[in-house]
C-alpha cells in the first residue's frame, strides 16, 4: 500500500500543514510519497526530502503548476494516481480546489476534512458545522481525502534524506490562467499554525479598533483572527475568518473578543485548548464554551490586558 500526499507550498517553502497531513498518512500506514508540484520549487523538494515519514519525493516542476491551478494540478495527480491506494492533501483552499476534481476524474468520492483515521478505509469527519462527527467507510479503489491539519500532530520535519524523483508530465489544460494575487503580509504567525490566536467580532466596531487586538497579539506572539460578522462588515480581510467555512484553528489559547459565538464560528475554534471570551453581553453563547469568561466592555478590558501580560 502506497500513499500519495500532496505538499502544500508556495514554491519557496513547504507549508507546515503538510507535516500534519503526513501524520494522517502515517496513521493509515504504508509507504508515503510526497508530491511537490509547482514551478522553480526544487528548494521545496529538498526540504520535503528531509521530512521523516516520506519515502520518496516526487517533483513536478513546470510553469503550468506555478499557481496550483486546479485544472492543471488535478490532471497531473490523475496521471500518477494508478500507483496509489490513498491520495491525501490538507484542507486548505488550495487542495479543496483541486482534490475533488481529482476524485471525480478517478470516478471516486472524496472524503473531506477528516479528523481521525480509524483504519485504512474508515475515517471520522465533522459534519453540520462540527455539531456531529460522522464515521464513514469507503470501498472506493483509491481513497481521496482532505485532512484537517489541526486534528493531527505534525511529523518531524528533519532528519530524513528521501530520494527525489522527477515527474516530467506537463499537464496544461489551457482553459484557465492566473491573473493576480493579493496576499496578506504579516509578521505574525499564520492563523492555523499559531499557538495563540486573538480574534475579534462585530463588537470591535470597525477595522481601526482591531489595532487593540494586534497590540495584544504582538505581546503574546499570537495570530489575529475574526468572526464572519467582522469580515462581512469589512473590518478585516477574508483570510482572517475563523469558522465553519473559513479557517479551522486549534491553538493552545484562543481569545475571543466581542464575538457572540454563532455555531458557525464555534465550529472553527472549539477544539482550542483554552478559550477566553471577553464580551459585554453575559448571555453571549461564546461563554458556554469559554474556559474563562470576562463580562466587560472590550474597549476597557483589552487595553488593560495588553498592559498586564
Amino acid at each position: 500500500m502506497t500513499i500519495l500526499v500532496i505538499a502544500e507550498h508556495d514554491n519557496a517553502q513547504l507549508k507546515p500543514v503538510t507535516l500534519n497531513t503526513l501524520s494522517a498518512a502515517e496513521a493509515i500506514g504504508g509507504d508515503i510519497h510526497l508530491l511537490v508540484a509547482g514551478h522553480n520549487c526544487q528548494v521545496v523538494a529538498d526540504e520535503a526530502a528531509r521530512v521523516t515519514a516520506v519515502s520518496k519525493v516526487l517533483l513536478a516542476d513546470n510553469t503550468a503548476y506555478e499557481h496550483q491551478l486546479a485544472e492543471n494540478i488535478s490532471a497531473l495527480i490523475v496521471s500518477i494516481a494508478a500507483n496509489y491506494s490513498h491520495i491525501l492533501a490538507s484542507s486548505t483552499t488550495t487542495a479543496k480546489n483541486y482534490l475533488p476534481r481529482v476524485a471525480a476524474l478517478l470516478d471516486v468520492n472524496q472524503i473531506s476534512d477528516i479528523s481521525a483515521v480509524v483504519s485504512a478505509d474508515t475515517f471520522e469527519r465533522p459534519i453540520y458545522a462540527g455539531n456531529a462527527v460522522a464515521t464513514v467507510q469507503s470501498s472506493d479503489k483509491v481513497k481521496v481525502i482532505t485532512v484537517r491539519g489541526t486534528a493531527f500532530d505534525a511529523v518531524v520535519a528533519d532528519g530524513n534524506s528521501a530520494e527525489i524523483a522527477v515527474v516530467a508530465e506537463a499537464c496544461d489544460a489551457g482553459v484557465s490562467c492566473f491573473i493576480s494575487e493579493e496576499l496578506a503580509v504579516s509578521d505574525r504567525p499564520e492563523l492555523t499554525a499559531a499557538s495563540v490566536v486573538v480574534s475579534g467580532g462585530r463588537g470591535m466596531g470597525n477595522g481601526e479598533n482591531f489595532d487593540l487586538l494586534y497590540s495584544v497579539a504582538d505581546k503574546l506572539g499570537a495570530a489575529v483572527g475574526a468572526s464572519r460578522a467582522a469580515v462581512d462588515a469589512g473590518f478585516v480581510p477574508n483570510d482572517m475568518q475563523v469558522g465553519q467555512t473559513g479557517k479551522m484553528v486549534a491553538p493552545e489559547l484562543y481569545i475571543a473578543v466581542g464575538i457572540s459565538g454563532a455555531i458557525q464560528h464555534l465550529a472553527g475554534m472549539k477544539d482550542s485548548k483554552v478559550i477566553v471570551a471577553i464580551n459585554k453581553d453575559e448571555e453571549a453563547p461564546i461563554f458556554q464554551v469559554a474556559d474563562y469568561g470576562l463580562v466587560a466592555d472590550l474597549f476597557d478590558a483589552v487595553p488593560e490586558l495588553e498592559q498586564k501580560i
Binding site: 486546479a70 483552499t93 475533488p100 476524485a103 459534519i127 455539531n131 464515521t135 495563540v196 489559547l253 474556559d291
Partner: protein, 249 residues
C-alpha cells in the same frame, strides 16, 4: 447566455443539528429546512447577471425528493426563470450529484454554472469542482467577484492567504463564497408569481445516471462537549488564571 444554478435543501443555518439516539445519523425530523446559504448567494449572482443583461435565462436545478420543490420555488421567487428537480432519495453523495448535474448541463448548455462552495450539512465542498472535472471545464471556486467579458470570466477567489484572481474560458463553473453578494429576500408578489413558473421533474434514469455510493455512513456521534468554565471578575484575575492555572501565557 444561459446561467444554470444548482441548489441544495439543507437544515436551516440557525438550527443546531442533533444526533439521533441510535447514532445512525443526524435527526432531521421536524427540523426547519431552508436553501443552503451559499446557494442563495449563487442564485443572487445569477439573477444579477440577468438583470445586468449578461444572462438571458436563469435555470435552477436541485437534486432530491419532492420536498426540494420548496427550495426550487424559493429560487424562482428570487428571480430564476424555471426549475428542474432531479428526483432522487434525499442526500445522494457528491459524485452522484455532480454526474446528474453534468448531464443537465450537457442538455441545457449554459455559459456559466454557479453553485454554493459548500453545503452546511455535509460540509463537503466538492460538488462544483467535481462537476467541472466531469465536464472537463475550468472552475473558479470560493468566488468573491465574478466579471464576464465575452467568452471569458474573471473570478476573484477567497484563498487562505488573501485573494487570487483567475481567468477562465467559458463555459465555466463558479462556486460562491460569502462575500460575493448579499442575497435579496423574495417579495410577496414574486412568491405568488413563482408558483406559475415551470418546474420540470426528471429521473436519474432519464439522464442515464445510476445513483449510488461507495461511501457508507457507519455512525454519527455528537462531538466531545466543552464544559463552560468560570467567569472571572477582572482582567487581573484573568491574567492570573492564564498564567498559573491554565499555564498558557
Amino acid at each position: 447566455m444561459k446561467v444554470l444554478v444548482a441548489v441544495k435543501r439543507v437544515i436551516d443555518y440557525n438550527v443546531k443539528a442533533r444526533v439521533k439516539a441510535d447514532n445512525s445519523d443526524v435527526d432531521l425530523a421536524n427540523v426547519k429546512m431552508a436553501l443552503n446559504p451559499f446557494c442563495e448567494i449563487a442564485i443572487e449572482e445569477a439573477v444579477r447577471l440577468k438583470e445586468a443583461g449578461t444572462a438571458d435565462e436563469v435555470v435552477v436545478v436541485s437534486v432530491g425528493s419532492k420536498s426540494c420543490d420548496e427550495q426550487i420555488r424559493t429560487a424562482l421567487a428570487l428571480g430564476c426563470d424555471r426549475g428542474i428537480r432531479i428526483d432522487t432519495p434525499d442526500s445522494p453523495d457528491s459524485l452522484s450529484v455532480a454526474k446528474l448535474l453534468a448531464k443537465v448541463v450537457e442538455q441545457e448548455t449554459p455559459g456559466l454554472v454557479v453553485l454554493g462552495k459548500q453545503a452546511i450539512d455535509s460540509d463537503n465542498n466538492q460538488t462544483g469542482q467535481m462537476l467541472a472535472a466531469l465536464l472537463n471545464r475550468p472552475q473558479g471556486t470560493f468566488a468573491s467577484a465574478v466579471n464576464i467579458s465575452e467568452d471569458k470570466v474573471q473570478v476573484t477567489r477567497e484563498i487562505d492567504g488573501g485573494l487570487q484572481t483567475v481567468e477562465l474560458a467559458m463555459p465555466a463553473i463558479v462556486t460562491t463564497d460569502l462575500r460575493l453578494n448579499e442575497p435579496r429576500y423574495a417579495s410577496l408578489p414574486n412568491i405568488m408569481k413563482a408558483k406559475r413558473k415551470p418546474l420540470t421533474v426528471i429521473t436519474p434514469d432519464e439522464l442515464g445516471v445510476t445513483v449510488g455510493s461507495n461511501i457508507s455512513l457507519l455512525r454519527v456521534d455528537p462531538p466531545a462537549e466543552r464544559q463552560a468554565g468560570v467567569k472571572v471578575s477582572s482582567v487581573d484575575e484573568l491574567v492570573e488564571k492564564l498564567r498559573n492555572e491554565a499555564k498558557v501565557i
